[in-house]
Subunit: 293 residues, 2 copies
């Protein structure tokens, strides 16, 4: 594995087609699934590793975001990643950036409302990664469904020759979506955290029984939150992130809640196949995540 | 010459290193100078040809902006341009863009004030050209000094692996900076238009006599405008576009004025060489510009 610190060193290490897996590090099986998908699709896999300060609206959240570069290097090495791009802060943000990338319309609900400036921070850093690393493919997790919509739109609007591919959410054995932030939960909070996925899966059961009404699906999700403080439960279209009164197109049912000091998000994507609604439940680990190794 | 309509066709036509000359068409000797500079620096020269609606704050200005693709194809062919990228509107802007690129700080004076939204339009389309065309080098005229600062900053902030090169302004024989908009002037207005460069050259004479005071240089420029209506006359630093009270660093003295319905801009760049101030007067044509051919 090549560990590189600069964009030009990353580009110099490429052979053939290049797939990018953008990450903020502290790898879990969700990241590993993206790395594997990338390896199956391209000659060179470059994993970027940078905790992007621009996308944190809350300084305390940025401060406590888990970081362990040594751990991540070992995991990336074991995963046979070709290039780990772990830029220094100076390489990534040499001075206060004056340039910002914004994506309107898709960002005025859910995470866009709860975390002001978050998506501008994401869009700016992803533009920078696409500009500087010039990948042919880029892999993102479906857990960040609104982010995925933002990035797909950004690629279209800015004509980046990058194919954006989404991968199902990877979950712990009890359903909790993997997130580096899960390591910040106390054991009591860890139990409460199950409410997010439990509500989503209850809604999937309702969908499979024929429920298509948006507000009713949203109430099922919010109704499951007892020990966690809900931020939102919302059904929205996958492309435009427009709230849906009916589940009649590719969509996602999203939930966000605060468990202690930790803010968690999750969602289930609904796709249409031959007129049928198909829920993407994600993948479920049978063993404890490497987050707790 | 390859005439291409899509980003992917443009990229498929490259051999070796690639230099981009972004234009809005209706070529004049300023564009030809950029094409020649590009040919001297790269294996493939791609000239983009698109009147960018995003950068026009005034619909009437967009409407009357001169256009003649047949004329421009002939000129580009004669100039031995390798690739003329003349995208259709649908290729360039398939739907109302939701993504915008902004550059703060450098854009809150001069053109940024006079043309609200102009630099966001420029930054967005240049980001798109850099993203979609992936040039190694890009050539811009020094006539648009504030735009040059914006693009240099954008490249830095977004880590585009593009070297931005600036070329001196090309002027008609009486000093008027070449601009496609010059063709919109009546013969009376054409005479009045000389006031912009006359004021700038008078200021250069003062600088060469030792004048370094910003406001005094600005008054010389504004004092030359009699038949044209001044928008501004301003001395600013080249990198941060900060107004200068003293000419003590790389800077440009800029002027903008309205002549009839046509808005014109011009500037003289001042560089420092071994402690000496050197004015970039640009290049001057000895014959009528091909604008009038």
């Amino acid at each position: 594995m090549n560990l590189v610190r600069t964009f030009s060193d990353a580009r110099a290490s490429y052979k053939g087609t290049v797939a990018l897996v953008p990450t903020m590090g502290f790898f879990h099986e969700g990241h590993l699934a993206l790395m594997t998908a990338a390896q199956n699709s391209a000659d060179t896999v470059v994993v970027s590793h940078f905790v992007n300060p621009l996308q944190f609206d809350n300084p305390a959240d940025l401060e406590r975001y888990p970081r362990d570069v040594e751990r991540d290097m070992t995991i990336a090495e074991e995963a046979k990643v070709d290039v780990l791009f772990a830029p220094t802060s100076v390489e990534m943000i040499p001075q206060t950036p004056l340039t910002a990338v914004t994506v309107d319309g898709l960002t005025d609900t859910m995470e866009g409302v709860m975390r002001p400036g978050h998506f501008a921070g994401v869009a700016t850093i992803v533009t920078k990664l696409f500009a500087g690393l010039q990948p042919h493919l880029a892999f993102f997790g479906r857990k960040d469904a609104q982010q995925l919509a933002v990035i797909r739109r950004l690629v279209l609007d800015l004509s980046f020759p990058v194919r954006v591919l989404a991968h199902p959410t990877v979950r712990e054995s009890d359903g909790l979506a993997l997130s580096s932030r899960n390591t910040l939960l106390t054991s009591e909070e860890r139990l409460a955290a199950r409410e997010l996925s439990q509500g989503l899966f209850a809604a999937v059961t309702a969908v499979e029984a024929g429920e298509r009404n948006g507000p009713r699906l949203e109430s099922i999700v919010r109704g499951a939150l007892h020990s966690s403080r809900p931020d939102y439960g919302e059904l929205a279209s996958q492309d435009r992130v427009e709230r849906l009164s009916e589940l009649d197109r590719p969509s996602f049912l999203a939930v966000a809640a605060r468990v202690g000091k930790v803010r968690l998000i999750d969602n289930i994507a609904f796709d249409l196949a031959a007129g049928e609604v198909v829920a993407d439940r994600g993948l479920r680990l049978k063993h404890p995540s490497l987050l707790y190794r």
